[in-house]
Amino acid sequence: MHILLRGRDIENIKQLDVYEAHGGFVGMKHALAMTPAEVIDVVKASGLRGRGGAGFPTGVKWSFIPQHEPVKFVTVNADESETGTFKDREIMEENPYQLIEGSLICAYAIQAKAVYIYLRGEFWDIGDQLDECIEALRAKGYIGENIMGSGYDCEVYTHLGAGAYICGEESALLNSLEGYLGQPRVRPPFPAQKGGGLYKEATVVNNVETLANVPYILSEGAGAFKAIGTEQSAGNKIYCVSGHVKRPGNYELPMGATFRELLYQHAGGPLHDDRPLKAMLPSGGSGPIVPLSDEVLDTPMSYEDCANIGTIIGSASIIIMDETVDMTWVASKVTKFFKHESCGKCTPCREGTYWLDKVIDRILDGRGSPDDVKRIADVAENMAGTTLCALGDFAANPIIHTIRHFPDDFAQHVTAQAADG
């Protein structure tokens, strides 16, 4: 059953009357009948964790907001830019009211003055559609002053980015929304604290998929949500499958389903039957790559189980590669991405991605030496943990883990060079 991708089950759910006829805004009504603190308790009890990648408990994040502050904000992170991720897009295209309802419930729970939906700039058409939804809700009294007669006031706005991966990082997103360069801020203060959020006010920043789960939790109860998934990873998750499978696409399954079930039952198995699958990036370009062994295939897709195989589930942008793919080329592709997307603020990331790219190109051209492979591993190790935001770590991961798991893919380029010499 879809909780999130309901556009697949219910025709025209992107129309407000259809959305409401199928339980839309029941969660919002339940929330408005509770105190804000009670709403936060329900979300805490549901076990919902952030779907943007970090997996932080959502209710706990909301509880960090100081209730006594007069002005607070909600910012929806719709800057979906991780390589291989395309889930938030489908939620917003096919089930937009559910995102807005979830955002409004969050806003009520922290008593926010307004919600800003920060869309990646390429989501131009989605922004137009959300603006129409917002106007329809305003006309019904669901957005604006005295929402549903509750006495609570809240506005919802969209904002388009303009092509910068870094703006998916929450403090860079806030800078961008304020009209500054989209570069990460020094923390503390954190966004939830006075001085650290939007316009220096306490702010919750949540991913689209995270908030789209909230109406279900408020309408069906925390227990119904907690009953889905595993002990530490509650609910459904949208898995974005791309690369060498027969049926790439989004699949909504309970957390804890195995990679094997996702890849073979749902995504149709290897694209070419005679080419076995070799490797998987389970969390886009930024998470550690793993070989597609039986052990990995039988691992449940949950926060806790993915840690046991040395990777993360993250945003569940699952990129599949078959035996024809050279992992040195993969390292190069992902490094070029991070080199392009590094905002330039922190030296290790700015310089590290630049030099990694140059040296990997040299290796791929057959002009590298075995020392070059050690050199890029060394550069990557020195980037990890030395930057203001996680992009530095993300950029180090593809190098460290491709070399660790697939040393022969690198060796073939440098030994050929040695033989030529």
Binding site: E80, S81, E82, T83, G84, T85, F86, D88, R89, R120, G121, E122, F123, W124, D125, Y157, H159, L160, G161, A162, G163, A164, Y165, S176, L177, E178, G179, Y180, L181, G182, L198, Y199, C240, V241, S242, G243, H244, P248, G249, N250, L281, G285, S317, I319, M321, V325, V330, K333, V334, F337, H340, E341, C343
Partner: protein, 168 residues
């Protein structure tokens, strides 16, 4: 024409200014309006956005330069941005991108001599299950192959010719 005092943009500019707590926050939407008016973010557009927001033009220019969707030079009528990131590349996007440049006889980032098409590669556009794909003037075109693309190029050329005739 200009964006300041232009009735085409007045309501949109006011709506953006009303959305935010500070004027400065409207710099990104206003840069899109400047780009729409002039076809690229030119010095005149930068100056006007700065004037509306009480900013220095240098501050506005730094924002325009940071983000890839603001173009700081003129583009063709159709700005084609092909995703060649890893998931698309696994589905043949690098070959598709190279073919498209050959087909239109342009270098990376270049514009055809008739100013119709600009071709460049971009990073992940969140359409990995529909590769190869591209973005044409900020609208997605997905599940592409050479035949489909030839058809689209012909269609866009025809549309541009009709628009030119209509104006004449």
């Amino acid at each position: 024409m200009a964006i300041i005092g232009n009735p085409k943009y007045e309501a949109r500019i006011d709506r953006h200014l009303a959305k935010y707590e500070t004027k400065r926050s409207a710099v990104m939407p206003l840069l899109y309006i400047a780009q729409e008016e002039y076809g690229w973010v030119n010095p005149e557009g930068i100056r006007e956005v700065a004037e509306i927001l009480n900013l220095d033009p240098t501050q506005v220019k730094s924002i325009a330069g940071f983000y890839t969707m603001y173009s700081e030079k003129p583009k063709g009528k159709y700005w084609l941005q092909v995703c060649t990131d890893l998931p698309c590349a696994l589905q043949g996007a690098d070959e598709f991108h190279a073919w498209l440049k050959d087909e239109l006889d342009v270098e990376e980032g270049g514009t055809t001599t008739d100013d119709m098409f600009t071709v460049e590669h971009v990073m992940c556009l969140a359409a990995c299950d529909k590769a190869p794909m591209l973005q044409c003037n900020f609208h997605y075109v997905e599940n592409l192959d050479q035949d489909k693309m030839r058809g689209l190029l012909a269609k866009w050329r025809q549309e541009a010719a009709q628009a030119a005739n209509g104006r004449g």
